[in-house]
Amino acid sequence: MSDNHELEPLPQAEPIANPGLPPHQPRPTDVDPAAERRAERQVSAFFLLAALLSLGFGFAYFTTDVGDHPTTFLGLGASTLFLGLTLGLALLCLGIGAIQWARKLMADEEIVEYRHSASSSEEDREEAIAAFQTGVEESGIGRRSLVRNSLLVGLGALGIPAIVSLRDLGPLPGNKLYHTVWKPDMLVVQDVGFNKIKPADIVVGQLVNAEPEVFSPENKGPDGEPEYTGTKLLDATAKAAVILVRMDPNDIKDKKSANWGIDGILCFSKICTHVGCPISLWEHETHHLLCPCHQSTFDLADGGKVVFGPAARALPQLPIKLNDDGYIVAQSDFHEPVGPSFWERG
C-alpha cells in the first residue's frame, strides 16, 4: 500500500514499562498468631469430622435394612439416604479442610517462573537419531530381505485368527431381517396373558398388545420345554410383537388396509420403523399411534402412514382372518420387513 510508509514504526520492546507484581499483602493468619492457631483448629476439626462421618457410613450400612422391607426415615429409604449423606458429607469435609488449609496456612507468596522450550537440546536429538541409525544398520533389516519378508508374512498371518474368531461370533444374518415367526393360521393372543381373541371381545376404541401364540409357555418344543425362552424369545418378540386395534370401519381410509382386517380390527407391527422402539401409544379418537422415543406418528386409519416424526416407512400391517373356531389368526407373515430400515432395503 502507498500509505504504509506513513505509519510510525512500532517500538522494539516494552512500549509500556513492566509494572512488576504488586507488593505482597499478608493474610491475617500470616501476621496474627491467634488467627493462625484458630485456622489450624478449623482445618483439623473438618478432617476429624470427615473421619466421624466415615464411621457413620459404616454404622448406617450395618443398621439399616434394604430389600423387601427397607428401613424408612421420613418416608425415604433410610439406607440410601444415610449412606449418601455420610459419605457425601465426609468427602465435603475433607475438601473444605484442604481448601481452608491451603488458603489460610500454606505459603502464598507470589513467585515468577519462566517457561522453558519444550524441545530437547540439539545434542540429545542428534544422539537419538544416531542410535536409531545404528540399530537399523546392525539389524540389517534393509539388507536381509528374506528375514524382512518372512517377518511381514508372519505378522500378516495374525489376521487369520482375528477373522476366524470374529466370524465365530455368529452366523451371517441371512434373510432373517425379512421374516418374523408369523405364519398362516397362527393365533393372535394377548401379550402376557396368552388368551385367544375373538372379534366380539374387542370393542371400537380398544387396543390389545398381542403376540403370536408360539410365544406361550404352553407351546412346547420337541424336547418338551417351552419352545421360546430367554434370548431366543426376546429376539423373536423384537420382530413379531403386534398391536390389535379396533376402529369404526367407516373411519378407515385405506381400502387394502381395511381388507387385511376384520370389521375394523386391524393388526399392526408394534416395532417402530425408525429405530425399532416398541410403539403402542394409541389415541383411539384420532387413530394416531405415537412412538415414545422420537415422536414418530403413524395414522392407523390410513394404512399406518407416517404423519409426523423421523420414521421413513409406514408401519407394516399383519393381515388377519378368523379360523374355524372364530378366533383371530394371521393370514400370513408380514409382507415387508418390520422395524428399522437397513442397508440392503435401499
Binding site: 496474627d32 421420613l74 425415604l76 439416604l81 387396543l207 383411539h284
Partner: protein, 284 residues
C-alpha cells in the same frame, strides 16, 4: 287327609268352585312370578325409575349444554364434536369422568383436567343411572372386581407385567404420566382410586384406548391396580421423584444443580480473600 279331600270333593260342584279354583291358580302364578322374576331383576341391581329421573334432572342442568338435552351430542358448525353423544358410553364412564372431576369441564380445551368433583356420590350414581338407561354400555364395576386386598405377591408381579406391556408406553413405568401429541398428556395415575383406574381401563376416557374385560380380564385389571398401588407404597429414595423419568431427569438434576452448585461454590471460594494491612512481627 282323607277327610279333607272328601270335604273338598263334596264342594266341587258348588257354584263358587270354578271361580275359587281360578283365583287360586291366578294367585299361584302371580306369586311364583313375583318370587322369581323380580328377584332376577334385583340381582342386576338396575336403577330405579326414580333414580333415572333424578339423574335426568341433574343432567339437564349440568351437562345438557354440551351433550344435548337427551345426551345425543352437539356438533359444532364445522361438524366437530362440541360435546359427544353419551348414548352407550355406560355408567362406568360417567362415574370415572364425574368422580375425578373431569366432567363437567370448566372450559372447552385440549383435554378435560382432573379437579375437585362437583357432584357427590349419590348424584354421580343418579347421573350414571340416567346415562346407562340411554343405551347399553359398561356398568359400574362391582367392588369385588377391583378388590386388591387379597392379591398374592405373584399376582402383583404379573400385574407388573401387564402394566409394563399395556400401560407404561403412555403413563410411564412409575405411573407418573407423560406427554402426548398436540398438547395432550397421559395423566399420572397413582392418586386415583382402584375403582377409577378400573373404570378408565374399561371405558377408555378421551384418547385412552379401551381394554375390555373380554381380553384383559377383570382379574388382570385388579392385578394391574394392585401393582400400581404397590409401586406407590415403596419408599422414595432421595426424596425427589423428578417425574419418575429415570436416568434422564436424574442426570439433568445432577449436571445442572449438582455440578452447577459446585462451580458456584468454587467461584465463591476463589473470589473471597482476606488480606491484612499489618506487617508480620519479626522476632516478636
Amino acid at each position: 287327609m282323607r277327610l279333607l279331600s272328601e270335604k273338598i270333593s263334596q264342594k266341587r260342584r258348588s257354584r263358587f268352585a270354578g271361580p275359587v279354583v281360578l283365583l287360586i291358580g291366578l294367585l299361584l302364578t302371580g306369586g311364583l312370578y313375583a318370587a322369581f322374576a323380580p328377584a332376577n331383576a334385583d340381582n342386576n341391581s338396575g336403577p330405579s325409575a326414580d333414580e333415572v329421573a333424578k339423574g335426568r334432572a341433574l343432567f339437564q342442568v349440568g351437562c345438557a349444554s354440551c351433550h344435548g338435552a337427551n345426551a345425543e351430542g352437539i356438533l359444532t358448525k364445522r361438524g366437530n364434536n362440541y360435546g359427544p353423544s353419551l348414548v352407550g358410553v355406560g355408567a362406568a364412564a360417567v362415574h370415572f369422568q364425574v368422580s375425578t372431576g373431569r366432567m363437567p369441564m370448566a372450559q372447552a380445551g385440549t383435554q378435560a383436567l382432573r379437579k375437585k368433583p362437583v357432584y357427590n356420590d349419590e348424584e354421580i350414581s343418579q347421573l350414571a343411572a340416567f346415562v346407562q338407561s340411554l343405551g347399553p354400555g359398561p356398568a359400574i364395576p362391582s367392588e369385588s372386581d377391583y378388590d386388591i386386598s387379597n392379591l398374592s405377591a405373584e399376582e402383583i408381579a404379573e400385574g407388573g407385567e401387564f402394566f409394563r406391556t399395556n400401560c407404561t408406553a403412555c403413563h410411564n413405568f412409575a405411573g407418573h404420566g407423560g406427554a402426548m401429541p398436540n398438547g395432550r398428556f397421559a395423566p399420572k395415575i397413582y392418586n386415583d382410586t382402584p375403582q377409577q383406574i378400573f373404570e378408565a381401563m374399561l371405558t377408555g376416557p378421551q384418547q385412552m384406548p379401551i381394554f375390555s374385560n373380554e381380553v384383559l380380564s377383570a382379574k388382570d385389571k385388579a392385578e394391574i391396580i394392585g401393582y400400581v398401588k404397590n409401586l406407590n407404597k415403596q419408599p422414595q429414595y432421595g426424596g425427589f421423584g423428578l417425574g419418575g423419568l429415570g436416568p434422564v431427569a436424574e442426570g439433568t438434576f445432577a449436571w445442572l444443580v449438582g455440578i452447577g452448585g459446585l462451580v458456584i461454590v468454587a467461584i465463591w471460594i476463589a473470589a473471597h480473600s482476606t488480606r491484612s494491612s499489618k506487617k508480620k512481627k519479626v522476632d516478636a
